[in-house]
Amino acid sequence: MVTGEHAVAPQEELPGGEGARRRDFINIAAVSVAGVGAATVLYPLITQMNPSADVLALASIDVDISAIAEGQAIKTIFRKQPLFIRHLTKKEIAEAEKVPLSELRDPQTLTERTKEGHKQWLITMGVCTHLGCVPLGAGEGEARGVFGGYFCPCHGSSYDTAARIRKGPAPKNLEVPEYSFTSDTVVKVG
């Protein structure tokens, strides 16, 4: 520090303003280092709020669906959120298929939302795409809304028999998670 102060003389005494430029360089360099340092410190402070490893650990679940009769649905938990597994009736499948895509807010066919050869199994998250409530319709005797699928009691979103949004404030269809059939009666979700 002391040597630095002696080495750089007051700027007006140096020819061509050379001292001023050196001083500016040191100033910018110091502020830059401090800035990068501050940003580096900020990063862990911000990212600590992201989901921790145990929350992120992909808990994939196996669900036995053999006991779900046609027309019935079950609720289970996947990644701490409700998951709906619904055994569609022939009538519900027909209803979902006759709707023209142009009428849909988030156009998707039932085929796109189910697995090949398992069209009767509608597997979706039970999380309304509006503000995250659990829609009714999976439990016995719950209201299914005017389109016969699911009905969210919070703000009145109605989903059809392919769990597609038809009415109300929700912007998207109920999310279809990643899953596969490990056998005809067991589904692996996640």
Binding site: M49, N50, P51, S52, V55, K75, I77, R79, K80, Q81, P82, R105, G126, H130, L131, G132, C133, V134, P135, L136, C152, P153, C154, H155, G156, G168, P169, A170, P171
Partner: protein, 436 residues
């Protein structure tokens, strides 16, 4: 800064002189809320609510610190620890009811404080910064209250947290990432509960700091008054102490009586029975509503049911809800009328009361289920809310012919009725308050 005729702090006792020379804290207090702060002599009881809001914050901080000694922020035990406070902790029921109802009292007082400012034009020059800082305090209060409501980890806590963080999920592209970041997971859980507790403990002290700035910026021009005419001389003011410490003390007594009535006779009146059911991620309560003080904003959120110009209804609702508060930050520049007080603005006065009724209607609809006719009423009421600030106030400033202002505060006081025209007022046309 103060008026030149403000009393000076002159410590008599040698000890106080010794302190004053080393740390002039008593001097600061004397000049801020003592005899050293001259205040307009004509303040009515609506000017009590600033002090009452400060008292309410004090009650919240004291009861909150004590409750935190018995509460555990973990999803497994949070609900039980609150019941433990209610049943086992000595006087725990009283402290928790005081904290829960204290929040309601805080909002009642602050809403009256805000509407006082709206009626008397307290947001106008040179007090814009007082208004802006007040809005910052209001936003901090809402964040604090929301996070506090999550802590008991009942059904309304859990689903409230989910719905409110879901608001951020409506932001295009980055929304879901932000929501996950806020919650520290895909749904409210321990991570969310712990950070909400941490911030719920921190924010009241941030509020206290902003209150200091709020008062500081108020004391630069000095308090406004019901006539909206600036102070012109020593005859227009009285010292804050003892005149307004006494008046505020009386108001505080009334406030505490009402608070005690709620606390001892209707402690659950403003709560929701659903929050006495432990949080259940698999079952949504049939009727999710926030606490009453959020109802007007909740009604605006829900007023949007169809997409407009390809923007999803959900995003529109969120924009409108935040917009309804952001809008208030522009109020000092939307209302250009040089006359501050609503007492001298006959048309403004009528529209002010329409706004009051409009906000009450929004509040009612926000607490009602999301069905007709409430949705349609919310839509009309939300439309008026925005129209009031964006269309009515700017137009009134141009078109309205205000009543003549009194020559000074003293003149208004001595005439006995501050709202009428005064024969001694020589201004034929309304003029801006003169002192700047």
């Amino acid at each position: 800064m103060s008026f030149p005729w403000a009393k000076h702090y002159e410590p008599k006792h040698p000890l106080m002189q010794w302190v004053d020379q080393r740390l002039p804290l008593p001097r600061l207090v004397y000049n801020a809320v003592g005899a050293g702060y001259p205040v307009p002599r004509n303040l009515n009881y609506f000017w009590n609510f600033g002090v009452l809001a400060g008292a309410a914050l004090g009650i919240q901080i004291i009861t909150g610190i004590v409750l935190a000694m018995h509460y555990a922020a973990n999803g497994m035990v949070a609900f039980d620890s609150v019941e433990h406070i209610m049943r086992d902790v000595n006087s725990g029921w009283l402290l928790r009811y005081a904290h829960a109802n204290g929040a309601s009292m805080f909002f009642i007082v602050v809403y009256l404080h805000i509407f006082r400012g709206l009626f008397y034009g307290s947001y106008k020059a040179p007090r814009e910064m007082v208004w802006l800082l007040g809005l910052v305090i209001f936003l901090l209060m809402m964040a604090t209250a929301f996070m506090g409501y999550v802590l008991p980890w009942g059904q309304m806590s859990f689903w409230g947290a989910k719905v409110i963080t879901g608001l951020f999920g409506a932001i295009p592209l980055v929304g879901p990432t932000i929501q996950t970041w806020l919650l520290g997971g895909f749904a409210p859980d321990d991570a969310a509960l712990n950070r909400f507790f941490s911030l719920h403990y921190l924010l009241p002290f941030v509020i206290a700091a902003v209150i200091i700035l709020h008062i500081w910026s108020l004391h630069i021009p000095g308090s406004s008054n019901p006539t909206g005419v600036e102070v012109k001389g020593p005859q227009d003011t009285v010292p804050f102490h003892p005149y307004y410490t006494a008046k505020d003390g009386f108001g505080l007594g009334v406030f505490l009586i009402i608070f005690a009535l709620m606390l001892f006779f209707a402690p659950n009146m403003l709560g929701h029975p659903d929050n006495y059911i432990p949080a259940n991620p698999l079952s949504t309560p049939a009727h999710i509503v926030p606490e009453w003080y959020f109802w007007p904003f909740y009604a605006i959120l829900r007023a949007f049911t169809v997409d407009i110009f390809g923007i999803p209804a959900k995003l529109l609702g969120v924009i409108a809800m935040f917009g309804s508060i952001i809008l208030l930050f522009f109020l000092p520049w939307l209302d250009n009328s040089p006359v501050r007080s609503g007492n001298y603005r006959p048309r403004f006065k009528q529209f002010f009361w329409i706004l009051v009724v409009d906000v009450l209607i929004l509040g009612y609809c926000g607490g009602a289920p999301a069905e007709e006719p409430y949705v349609m009423i919310s839509q009309v009421a939300a439309a008026y809310y925005f129209a009031h600030f964006l269309i009515v106030l700017p137009l009134l400033a141009k078109l309205e012919r205000p009543l003549p202002l009194p020559g000074s505060i003293t003149e208004a006081v001595l005439s006995g009725h501050s709202g009428s025209t005064l024969s001694t007022n020589t201004n034929s046309a309304p003029s801006a308050p003169a002192t700047h």
